[in-house]
Every structure is written in C-alpha cells, then in structure tokens.
Amino acid sequence: MNSTILKMAVGVLKPLFLLVSLWLLLRGHNEPGGGFIGGLIAGSALILRPLAYDLERLSEKNKRQSRIVLRAGMILIFSSALLGLVSHNTLLKGLWLKVNLMGTQTLKVGTPLLFDMGIYLTVIGFIYFVFISMMEEWQWK
C-alpha cells in the first residue's frame, strides 16, 4: 500500500493509539474498556507502520516477538487464575493489594488487573502474529 496520508499520520496515530489503549486497559475494571479492547487498539497501533511503509521488512524476527508477547499474556492470565486458587481455594478469586501513595491516596492493585493485562498482551501478540502471517501470503503472490 502506498498512501501518503497514512504515512504522514502514522507518526501521530501510533502513540495516540497506544495511549488510548493503556487508558482503556486501566479503566476497564469498572467502566467500559478492558484488556480485550485495549489490546485490539494497541495491536492496530503496532501494525500501522508496517502497513504504511515497510511490509517487506517484516520477518521471522517480528513473528518471534509476537509469539513471545502472546505467551507472556497467557502466562499472566494463567497465574492470575491460579493465585486465587492457591490462596483462597477459589479459581479466579480477586486478590487486592493496597499501595499507599504519598500518605493520602491509596492505589488498589489486584489480580483482575493482572488478568486484564494478560488479555491485553495476548490480543496484541495474536493480532501482530495474524497480521504478519497474512502479509507473508501477500508477498508470495
């Protein structure tokens, strides 16, 4: 694809997409958002630049990277499910850690966030992997 508009826009869109995806990931516990949507947006941010510029330079190395991200995500999901099982004998039990910020505010970090992050990474890895595989098919033709 050779689109000047896309090439110009990539530089702005990519960081914007990534920021929005992180924002969605973090607000997802109680409000619309979460790991899946965040992951989709982050994944599309990652494929923007190859789509606009250098399809040819996608290689086996990128594929390996995407697999690593995917695995890391699955391990996070699995461990968040397992933590509750080990400590409270209940699968996927939410465990919360309260962190004191400067004395006044408390930040609650818990296994649901871990789970969401796992989904986030899995979706990113998956999208990237599928994208590269499909682009390989295109290059053969």
Partner: protein
C-alpha cells in the same frame, strides 16, 4: 480445588506447548504427559464425587446465580473420566499415527484446546459458559480437521464449521431469549425458576433452539449431514478423537437440559425425541450399509448410534437414562477403537477402500482380533459392551411400553451387524485383490505405540461388557441424581 482441573490442566499444557516452539520431541512429550495428567485428574474427580457427592466451585468467589459456577455431578465425572481415558489412548496412537509435519504444526496444542473445551462443557454450570466451551471445542476441532491443509480436508472443514456455527447461533439465540425472559443463565437457578412458574411459556421457545443447537452438535436426524461429509477427510487419528468426543458432548448437553428443564416430560417432547431417534438410527445405519470406505461406514454408524442414546433419553425412565449413558460410554470406547483399527489397516495396505484390500486375517491374525472386539461390540454381540448397552435400552423401552421404537432399535442393530460383518469379510477374509499392488513404501511392521492403544480399547470394551453390572449400578446412581434436579439445584445454590 479439583473442580477446575479439567480446564486448568489443558490450559497449562497449551502454554507449555507454546513455550517449546517446534521441537517435535518436546511437543510429543509434553502433549502426551498432559493427556495422562488429565486422565489422572479425572480419576481423582470421579473418586471424590463418589465419596462426597456433587462438587461445586464458584469462580471468583461470587455466589451462584451471579458468578460463574463449575459443577461436577456423577454424570459429568463419568463423562470426564471416559473422555480423558479415550483421549489419552488416542494421544498415544497419535505419537506415530500423526506425521511429523502435523506434529510440528502443533497437533497436541489443538488436541489440548479441544480437551479444554470438552472438559469445560462437561463442568459448566451456566448456559453461557457452556456456550463458550462449545465454541472453544468447535474452533479447535476446526483447526484439527484442516491441519495439514489438504484440499479434501479444507472442503470437509468448511462444511463442518459452517454447520457447527449454525448450531452455535441457534444456541446463542436461545440463550438470549431465556435471559430476556428469566434474567438468569445459571443452570440450577434457571431450573428452579422454570419449575416454579408456567413452564411452557418460559421454556419452550428457547428450548427448541437449544434442542436444534445440541441436535446439530450431536448429529441427530435432520441435522446430521455435516458429519459424514467431513469426518473422513482428516487423518484417522483425528477422526477417532472426534468420534469419541464431539457428538457425545452434544448428547451430554441434551441429557443435562432435558433432565433439568423438562422435568415432567410431556408427549410433545417425548414423541419428538423418539421419532427423531428412530429416524436417526434407521437413516444412519442404511446409509452406512451402502458405503465401501471404512471411515465412511464408521462415520455413518456414529449417527445411527447417536439415535440409540437419544432413544434412551426419550424413554425417560431412570433405568433408560442409565442405559443411554451406558451406551454412550460403550460407544466412545468401541467407536474410537474401530476407527483406530481402520487407521492400522490403512497403514498396512495404504487404503480405506474395502474393494482394494483383503486377506488381512491370514497375514495379521491379531489385527483381526483387535478389529473384531470393537466391531462386534458395536454390533452388539455378548459378552461385549454393546450387547449390554442395547439390552438395557431395549429393556427400558419395553418397560416404558414403547414397542415400535424398541422394535426399530432391534432391527437397526441387525443391520449394524451386517455392516460390521461386511468390513470383516471384505478386509479380513476375502483374498487380497490380485490386480491391486500394495504400495511398497508402507512399513511392514506397525509401531508398538499404535498397536497398544488399539489393543487397550478393544479389551476395555470386553472388560466394560464383563463388568456391566457394576457400571450399571454407578450409572443408575448418576441417573437418579439426574432425575432429581432438586439435588443439583440445592448443591449449586446453597450459600458458600
């Protein structure tokens, strides 16, 4: 703790398989030990359920009607046990029965996602959760059916996935309706709601959609055609795995839903079940009789035997339910065994076509024995398991005074015998055809890891038949639990 194992073990194995890359040795080692671990876990679950009754676990600690519940009663435990046992044996066969290329493309990964879907469907206590596990199962079986990307496989795979997605859509539509009407999707909570109010209004419209969804998965009469057009395309190991698991999950869903929601079965549902069961049996067995490819004969027989299970559900007495469960377990063992022997025959002669093989009995008498056991079990020869399965079903039918359906079942059984004897005559007794040369490339000696699972399956049908009394007692216990949904409801909804 142990309630979640049927999901967690395959998930763990899948992650491990992703870690090792494409090293075939490690893929095989992890895959097969994972399958064995799953079998051990199922044994443990079965033992615990026998000791303590229904196991319930609330995911995330949220109490029952709100959270996702995992429930294992005796039926689920038995299904987990038999499916993981058969899957382990198929896994052993697959070590050599699946070629290196397919192993490199992670056969065992999809094998375990399939097991995760199957296990999840057996233990889900929530309709939507069950739907999700069905999807996991359909997706991984779609990958398995097209693994290797041969033209024929892709064609079969498309047919397979289209029909199964249709089934899922109908199922999902039913879920939407029932959620709109009752506001709950928890199996036990829903059962309580339905029993407390006007049953026909709340349940029937959704239930017919559920029935069609499960019917497509189980391949009963009007919806069966995806099965024979896709099951003969992948390698026979994969077909054996599908024959053992996929359709039976559909039957399981039907048994679960009928016993929970149609508690006083009315003539409409009973007649529907019995008529469809009879048609499924007859059409399956007649089309099988006209085939000459071993895999196709066996595929059509899957359909005909699903008919028997539905018939047992249609009789709806506790005894007939237990008989249907007995028949299902027997069928899983015998059908998988027969498919795997078909694989051995193909390995030996290079063909599944009965016309182009022959004389196997003279060359390999033991191969004959391993085929004889599951085939005659399917046909229903005593003392093998199929005889007792059919005997119990027919007894249940006579007790419920359903003479016509029972008579059809007996007749179908005779035609099944004909088909099995046809394979036996053509493949084993007929002299090998002169004009067809056996391909020299095929190994003369079969691998031991391929023979042992076949032998174990063959002898387990024998053992299953010989210990039919004990199994029938356990199954009647399971059927008693099924006939009293209040036990299930109480176990799920009791405060934590």
């Amino acid at each position: 703790m142990i309630t979640a194992l049927p999901i967690l073990i395959p998930l763990m194995v899948v992650i491990l398989l992703l870690m090792v890359g494409r090293k075939v040795y490690w893929l095989k080692l992890i895959g097969i030990s994972g399958a064995f671990l799953l079998f051990l876990a199922s044994l443990l679950i079965f033992y615990t359920v026998r000791q303590e009754g229904i196991l319930v676990s609330q995911a995330g600690g949220w109490p029952a009607p709100y959270g996702i519940t995992l429930v294992i009663d005796l039926l689920s435990a038995l299904m987990l046990l038999i499916s993981s046992f058969t899957a382990f044996l198929v896994g052993v066969y697959a070590l050599k029965g699946i070629d290196e290329k397919r192993h490199r493309f992670r056969f065992f990964l999809f094998f375990h996602t399939l097991m995760m879907g199957v296990g999840g469907a057996f233990i889900a206590g929530d309709i939507f959760n069950m739907y999700v596990w069905f999807e996991v199962m359909v997706m991984s079986s779609f990958v398995l059916i097209t693994l290797g990307s041969e033209k024929q496989q892709l064609e079969g795979g498309i047919k397979y996935v289209t029909m199964n997605l249709m089934g899922s859509f109908l199922f999902l539509a039913g879920i939407g309706l029932i959620y709109g009407k009752t506001g709950t999707l928890n199996l036990a909570d829903l059962s309580m709601t339905v029993r407390e109010s006007d049953q026909t209004f709340l349940m029937n419209s959704s239930f017919i959609l559920f029935f069609m969804g499960f019917g497509i998965k189980a391949a009963i009469f009007p919806f069966f055609f995806w099965l024979p057009s896709s099951y003969h395309t992948p390698p026979v190991t994969i077909t054996a795995l599908f024959a053992a698991l996929l359709t039976k999950v559909g039957v399981y869903g039907m048994i679960r839903f009928f016993t929970l929601y149609i508690t006083d079965i009315n003539p409409f549902w009973q007649n529907l079940l019995l008529v469809l069961a009879a048609l499924t049996m007859v059409i399956g067995v007649l089309t099988a009789a006209s085939q000459y490819d071993i895999r196709r004969i066996l595929s059509f027989h899957i359909i005909s035997q699903i008919g028997y299970m539905i018939m047992g559900l249609g009789f709806y007495s506790a005894f007939a339910l237990a008989a249907a469960l007995f028949f299902m377990m027997h069928n899983i063992l015998a059908k998988t065994g027969a498919f795997l022997v078909g694989g051995l025959i193909q390995e030996k002669t290079g063909s599944f076509q009965l016309k182009s093989i022959g004389g196997l009995f003279k060359e390999h008498p033991w191969l004959g024995l391993f085929f004889f056991l599951p085939a005659m079990a399917l046909a229903g020869v005593p003392p093998l398991s199929g005889f007792f399965g059919k005997f119990f079903l027919i007894k249940g039918g006579f007790e419920g005074q359903h003479f016509l359906t029972t008579a059809i079942a007996i007749w179908v059984s005779i035609v099944t015998m004909f088909s099995m004897i046809k394979i036996w005559n053509e493949a084993y007794w007929k002299p090998a055809p002169k004009d067809l040369h056996q391909p020299a490339s095929h190994p003369l000696r079969l691998k031991r890891t391929m023979i042992v699972p076949v032998a174990v399956l063959g002898f387990s049908t024998l053992l299953f038949g010989l210990s039919a009394g004990w199994f029938m007692e356990v199954l009647q216990e399971a059927a008693q639990v099924l006939k009293q949904p209040e036990l299930y409801i109480e176990a799920v909804l009791k405060p934590v």
